[in-house]
């Protein structure tokens, strides 16, 4: 009997969970890969060198007659005629006969004169000799250089993204060595900053993603996460600065719960409207967003304005309501991560292990069957919107209590809207949401360094995210690209029922 039970469990796990998880994750994973590839293409074609290479007359040409082949390598001679046209990113190459033996990208132009380090060039290309002709290459001369430049641009962009979001492995290693040797952790902490920043950005994504995913599971399209975040943050901020004299063990939970209550309240309104009157939640949550934004503006200019501040900002939250940070500065990683993990576990348990979740999912999957089974569709809509709003509100509270410690307009750079895409990417499953949130957080926080280090505009990241979502929403494209067969079982992402229902 016990054996049988074990066998049944094994069958369930072996047969069901992992295989299903693998199958479910395959398409999102491939979508991310294709998104990054296409992003690379965009980085490449927006690179100045590549653009120059692709333009009709891109490169400076030094006619061979203008250089004395018997003379020393003399860049100055070669460039004498064109030095005013030379630009950063141009290729210099040295030619012997028909083959190029050394090439370099012009990286710096000083006083319109460019030096080339002959010794270094000799080291890299041992057969480089005095008398080789230095020329500046054209695209038609060697299209390969364009591809190389493209490859270099993509590599630099993604390297910068990696360093900016995960960290520079070299610096991490050095910091670790320093820490072990001298007990000075500062360098190590500095080196770990990027990855912790990625986590910090992922936290609100996890909350907001859970909020939207739970809505999807119940067949509701909660576009109002952004407004619920705002209201949650506002209430949390208020409780954070107005309640004085409380110990942190009380104050912090109260402020967090305040965030949940605020978000839940903002979610329940459209939920109730839908349940009672059939008003579509998509419209009402959008409208509730605007109300929330204006309400916050008014609060910050009126009752919640920081005394003496000329700007629309709230007073600082008391330290007793801070989400504590794990490490000293400069790392900002705070206990919101733990709250987020607890929220993930809770939502997973709620959805898959309780009658409440069973009802929510049934209402989402087949409202007729839910009604037939004696579930109240209306009540479940209100419950789902309430929980969804509470989770979104937590995202707002988390930003205030963990990072900013005060409320200002625009404190959320669209977490609530991004989380719609994120929930789709995570297939509306709590664990999928975590993975998608980590991805989004990493991309977001690496994007800044990508812009500063590799001059790649931040918008590329937004575009990559958008592409990933397109591929998730239209898995046929991915299946076609990778010649995947559709699995027999339908794995449609049921987003929401039609407008009429």
């Amino acid at each position: 009997m016990a054996d049988e039970k074990k066998k049944a469990t094994k069958e369930r796990n072996g047969n069901g969970f992992w295989r299903r998880a693998g199958r479910t994750m395959l398409i999102p994973l491939l979508a991310v890969v294709v998104g990054l590839l296409l992003g690379g293409v965009m980085v490449a074609i927006s690179d100045p060198v590549v653009l120059r290479g692709l333009s009709p007359n891109p490169w400076l040409v030094v006619p061979s007659g203008e250089v004395d082949p018997s003379s020393q390598i003399d860049l100055q001679t070669a460039l004498k005629f064109h030095k005013n046209e030379l630009q950063i990113g141009d290729y210099l190459a040295f030619k012997r006969g028909n083959s190029y033996i050394y090439r370099e990208v012009v990286k710096e132009i000083t006083d319109r004169e460019t030096q080339i380090d002959f010794e270094r060039a000799k080291n890299r290309a041992p057969n480089l000799e005095a008398g080789n002709v230095a020329i500046v290459l054209t695209f038609s001369d060697r299209p390969f250089f364009v591809f190389e430049a493209a490859g270099r641009a993509v590599w630099q962009a993604y390297r910068a993204l990696f360093i900016g979001s995960i960290g520079d492995p070299q610096r991490i290693a050095e910091g670790w060595r320093a820490a072990v040797q001298d007990g000075n952790w500062l360098a190590f902490r500095e080196a770990m900053r990027p990855i912790t920043e990625s986590l910090v950005t992922s936290i609100p994504y996890i909350f907001a993603g859970l909020a939207v995913a739970l809505g999807f599971q119940a067949g509701l399209f909660n576009i109002g996460a952004e407004g619920q975040i705002a209201i949650g943050a506002a209430l949390s901020t208020y409780l954070g600065y107005s309640l004085t004299g409380l110990p942190a063990v009380l104050h912090l939970p109260i402020a967090l719960i305040g965030g949940m209550v605020g978000g839940a309240f903002w979610g329940i309104i459209p939920g109730y409207l839908k349940a009672k009157t059939g008003a579509h939640e998509v419209i009402n949550t959008i409208m509730m967003n605007y109300v929330a934004f204006r309400l916050m503006s008014w609060l910050l200019r009126g009752p919640m304005q920081r005394p003496g501040a000329g700007k629309p900002v709230s007073p600082f939250v008391l330290e007793s309501a801070y989400l504590p940070t794990f490490f000293g500065p400069p790392l900002r990683l705070h206990a919101g991560l733990i709250v987020a993990i607890l929220a993930v576990i809770f939502v997973w348990w709620l959805l898959y292990k309780t009658t409440i979740g069973f009802e929510l999912r049934t209402v989402g999957a087949n409202p007729n069957a839910a009604k037939y089974s004696g579930m109240s569709v209306a009540r479940n809509i209100v419950i789902a919107m309430g929980i969804s709003g509470a989770l979104a509100g937590l995202a707002g509270a988390n930003e205030v209590l963990g990072l900013n410690h005060f409320l200002a307009e625009g404190f959320s750079p669209g977490y609530g809207f991004d989380s719609i895409a994120l929930a789709l990417l995570g297939k509306s499953h709590p664990l999928g949401v975590v993975l998608a949130a980590l991805l989004f957080g990493t991309l977001r926080s690496g994007a800044t360094s990508m812009q500063s280090l590799a001059q790649v505009p931040i918008d590329i990241i937004t575009t990559i995210q958008a592409l990933v979502i397109v591929f998730i929403a239209a898995p046929e494209i991915i299946r076609w690209l990778f010649r995947l067969k559709a699995t027999g079982e339908e794995e449609k992402t049921v987003i929401t029922r039609g407008w009429g229902s």
């Binding site: 039970k5 292990k353 009658t355 069973f358 999957a365 069957a369 037939y372 004696g374 027999g488 079982e489």
Partner: protein, 516 residues
């Protein structure tokens, strides 16, 4: 009979991942023949026809049309080869007229842009007259009865010059009278040289209309026989692969105390039309009351009102002495009512859920399946395993989603769920619609078992045979009213047919209670 078959399928094999849907199937269609393709659900009939229509590519095998090897890559090829298909679910646009629907996809135009409806309408009239298909080209589809809509589908196929006509379960949606009409039309088509493949699982119809019968079982051709050498019994055995009880063995009913008593019930449909119009009846424990009637005469709304799924306008429903008009479905369920819903995929199952969850769809919230709000997975699995075994649901595991099951097995999941509770009243609406002989036999036996254990059974069905086989008493519904209640033993099939059509037959048995 001419020698060259108009259509020949040789050694058709279709392998789906994990399923051999067709295994070396052979089928020969002679010109001017009605060839029935008979088989249980899941036997591979539809797969075979989809291969013929170019929707699937066979793994192995060849198709010959008029003696020539044919490659069919899609419906367009099939149509150009003269193959036309009438699907079980009609492909018509309800808000367009007959003419518009017929020309859809093959529009005849004049001066380049204007639809030439007049010419098409004339052609439709010609086709109608030629084959005895009585259809008004200017009528809107939404105003036409189902039987006429089916004729429009046939006209659509003929308009495209098809001479091989495939009909997929054509009688599933028709009234007995409409079935008769359809058979006449088929006969007239065959007389004009058209060949017909008739897909069905109804034995009586096959014997009535087919020239030859090919039986499929689990993807294989079991036999090709003629009606003359077959009986219902022999065909059923070929289909199922074992001896089948076609008639339900049941003893005399022992009606006891009244369980359900309905008085002057009025119910409106979604469009606020009165569809149940003053219905009254009483149902006792241990008897089967059959509600007979053509689809759409208020049965659906009646059942929904009884089970709490629809608001009652006026009137009373007393269940075990308690008023339950406008009670919630849960209240009704908890009072001991099992409900096999009419539309199993819409109401009865969550197709994306595994079988185990569907097995507890309306008992998930109470012990032993849940304590407080926490569901007991082990208990649910245990119960599901037991019920799957007990009710013979054919599935690889209880974790397979309901959507992957065949119709018969989906229905068995619902029956297992509803019958395994201790019921006082069982409402079974179209319990065997679209099911194969084996499943029908099984579900009928279970219903009678429930009756004999003292449950009151309300059976709603549009199948006259089913009503007659199971019911102890029969109530006939017509336009929202119960026009007569009779003892099942006292009334003939013809009399029932007349009552269902709204006519009052002569010689009604003395036991009949006829509405005024």
């Amino acid at each position: 009979m001419p020698d060259i078959p108009v259509l020949e399928l040789r050694g058709i094999t279709k392998q789906f991942p994990g399923v051999l849907a067709n295994d070396n199937v052979n089928l020969t269609l002679m010109p001017g023949e009605i060839h029935a393709l008979l088989g249980e659900n899941g036997a591979g009939k539809t797969t075979l026809m989809n291969i013929l229509y170019g929707l699937y590519k066979p793994t192995k095998g060849e198709i010959f049309i008029r003696g020539k090897h044919a490659e069919i890559h899609g419906p367009t090829d099939a149509i150009s080869q003269g193959i036309g298909m009438v699907h079980q679910h009609f492909m018509l646009v309800p808000v367009l007229t007959v003419t518009e629907n017929v020309m859809l996809g093959q529009e005849t135009v004049k001066s380049g842009v204007f639809l030439d409806k007049r010419t098409v309408a004339r052609q439709i009239r010609e086709i109608s007259a030629q084959h005895g298909l009585d259809v008004d080209p200017d009528a809107y589809i939404k105003d036409l009865p189902v039987g006429v809509q089916q004729r429009v589908e046939i006209i659509k196929v003929l308009y495209r010059n098809a001479d091989i006509l495939i009909l997929d379960e054509p009688t599933a949606v028709l009234t007995p009278q409409e079935v008769e009409d359809l058979f006449e039309i088929l006969q007239s088509l065959v007389d004009k040289g058209i060949s017909i493949i008739f897909i069905t699982h109804k034995l009586k119809e096959v014997l009535a209309v087919a020239d030859r019968i090919t039986v499929l079982r689990r993807g294989k051709t079991v036999a090709t026989v003629t009606p003359a050498e077959s009986t219902e019994q022999s065909l059923a055995e070929l289909m199922v692969g074992r001896a089948v009880e076609l008639t339900v063995q049941k003893g005399e009913a022992v009606p006891q105390e009244p369980v359900l008593s309905v008085r002057d019930l009025v119910v409106k449909d979604d469009r606020e039309n009165v569809t149940v119009d003053g219905v009254s009846f009483t149902l006792r424990a241990g008897e089967v009351l059959g509600i007979a009637g053509v689809q759409g005469n208020g049965q659906t709304e009646l059942v929904e009102a009884l089970t709490g799924m629809r608001q009652v306008y006026t009137g009373s429903i007393r269940l075990l002495g308690k008023e339950v008009a406008n009670a919630t479905p849960r209240t009704v369920t908890e009072m001991g009512v099992g409900h096999v819903p009419e539309d199993r995929q819409r109401d009865g199952l969550v197709l994306s859920y595994p079988i185990k969850d569907n097995m507890v769809l309306n008992t998930y919230y109470r012990p032993p399946f849940a304590h407080w709000v926490v569901m007991d997975e082990e208990k649910i699995i245990e119960a599901a395993e037991k019920r799957v075994k007990e009710y013979d649901v054919r599935t690889p595991s209880i974790y397979a989603t309901a959507g992957t099951l065949s119709g018969g097995n989906q229905q068995k999941v619902i029956v297992a769920r509803e019958f395994s509770r201790p019921n006082k009243l069982l409402v079974a609406s179209q319990p065997t619609r679209g099911l194969d002989v084996g499943s029908i036999e099984y579900i009928h036996r279970r219903i009678i078992e429930q009756r004999d254990s003292g449950t009151a059974i309300l059976l709603v069905s549009t199948e006259l045979d089913e009503i007659r086989a199971l019911s102890d008493r029969i109530a006939v519904m017509f336009e929202g009213k119960i026009v007569a209640v009779v003892n099942a033993a006292d009334i003939s099939k013809e009399q029932l047919g007349l009552l269902m059509a709204g006519a009052m037959p002569k010689d009604m048995p003395p036991s009949a209670v006829v509405a005024q």
